[in-house]
Amino acid sequence: MDNLVITHYLFPAELFAEAQPHVVSTVLGSCVAVCLYDTQLKIGGINHYMLPLWNGTGLASPKYGNIAINKLIERMEKLGSNKANLVAKVFGGGNVLSSSNNTFSIGKRNAQLALDMLAEHKIPIIAQSLGGDHGRQILFNTHTNEVRQKYV
């Protein structure tokens, strides 16, 4: 087997979903990444959002959870996925910002939004690692749905 696994570094506010197998890496603080995986087609996609909700200011980009999750599902469907075959893994939402920002608890709200929206879409969450006080570094194999996580 000499087929190459292509790696991709996912920046905040970016979406990734492609038919070929990839290893996607990203670093999460209070941000949240949702990995979607199609159990039939064996393909995956991932987002990385920074804030829970778009409030109408600026571009409606996947920087915001409500947009990032819907767009990721759309992208998976474009690749031929049936929503019923999708499973999710959710990471991030750590409380890494200084305590002065605690009142906003961005991490917690980011994480809650993922849980709520995935429930709304009836996409089961088969693994999650949310909250805590540390940042995370994750690697997502879009072909096998394996996610490796390390605290940073």
Partner: protein
């Protein structure tokens, strides 16, 4: 067993309860108002989006019409009349330059909204890059007799995404020139230290009112300047800038006073893509992290 409570205490309790209720009513009302406000903002933004093409139709159709007309006129010019040709070519250049710039913003906005943009880090000579942007606005400046001063402190070499930086600076330059008075000055000051690059673009033009300062980053929002109402644009520039700067983990700030001009400053850190240990061959463990790694 009922608690014994005298009338006075009871009255006080009821009073407290009522107060509490009134308070939560107020909070709920406030939240409701906030929600309504956000909702109407969202609706407005979405309707702007759906009308976007018709909003910018003029911006796109007019330049094409002038390019068509001008090129036809050039074809009809006498051989000897070079001066006329050159002036018309200059007009064509301006139109096409603006069009190209607008397209770049429109497509960048679309890609950013689709999450399809990611920065590509390259070692860039930022001094050269800024100069090339300034150079591209030379004709524009000549028309309004605007002079551009620029300064660069620190090492020229900086790791960032050149195309995105170019667009960000172009947007700031374009605004600075657009909102300057004739014969004004635009200053571009860059500073590179401690792996941070800040670029400030200052004009001494019409400036922003407090109200406008809050909405300039909204997409499709165009500042209605009153005195300069023939200003063109699609209202995407600053929201594109904001999204790009966010993507580069930087900041964009604005200082402005009505009638005094504005100063936009962007600050971005050197772009670094973390390297992950991985084996390029799928037959091995495809990545190699220490034992602390958890597998999900």
């Amino acid at each position: 067993m009922a608690t014994k409570i005298n009338d006075k205490e009871l009255l006080q309790l009821i009073k407290d309860r009522l107060n509490e209720d009134a308070h939560s009513q107020k909070v709920i009302e406030q939240l409701n108002n906030e929600l309504k406000e956000i909702n109407s903002k969202l609706e407005a933004s979405e309707s702007m989006k759906s009308h976007f093409i018709s909003h910018i139709a003029n911006e796109l159709v007019n330049p094409f019409a002038s390019v068509l007309g001008l090129s036809k006129a050039i074809l009809a010019v006498d051989r000897e009349n070079w001066k006329k040709v050159i002036s018309m070519v200059a007009l064509i250049h301006t139109e096409v330059f603006n069009l190209d710039f607008q397209f770049k913003n429109i497509f960048m906005a679309a890609k950013l909204e689709a999450g399809e943009e990611s920065p590509t880090p390259v070692n860039v000579d930022m001094h050269k890059l800024i100069e090339s942007v300034i150079e591209s606005y030379k004709i524009e400046c000549k028309k309004k007799k605007i002079s551009i001063k620029h300064a660069f402190a620190g090492e020229y070499n900086f790791k960032t995404d050149p195309d995105k930086m170019k667009l960000v600076i172009s947007n700031l330059m374009s605004n600075a020139i657009k909102f300057s008075f004739d014969e004004g000055v635009v200053e571009v000051v860059a500073q590179h230290e401690h792996k941070q690059l800040s670029i400030a673009v200052r004009d001494y033009g019409i400036g922003l009112s407090e109200k406008n300062r809050e909405t300039i980053f909204d997409r499709f929002n165009r500042v209605d300047s009153g005195i300069n109402s023939n200003n063109r644009g699609h209202g995407l520039g600053l929201s594109v800038n904001k999204a790009i700067v966010d993507m580069l983990s930087g900041t964009m700030t604005v200082e402005s006073e009505l009638g005094q001009g504005s100063c936009f400053t962007i600050t971005v850190p050197e772009l670094d893509v973390p390297e992950f240990g991985y084996s390029p061959n799928a037959d091995e463990t495809f990545f190699d992290m220490d034992e602390n790694a958890e597998i999900f």
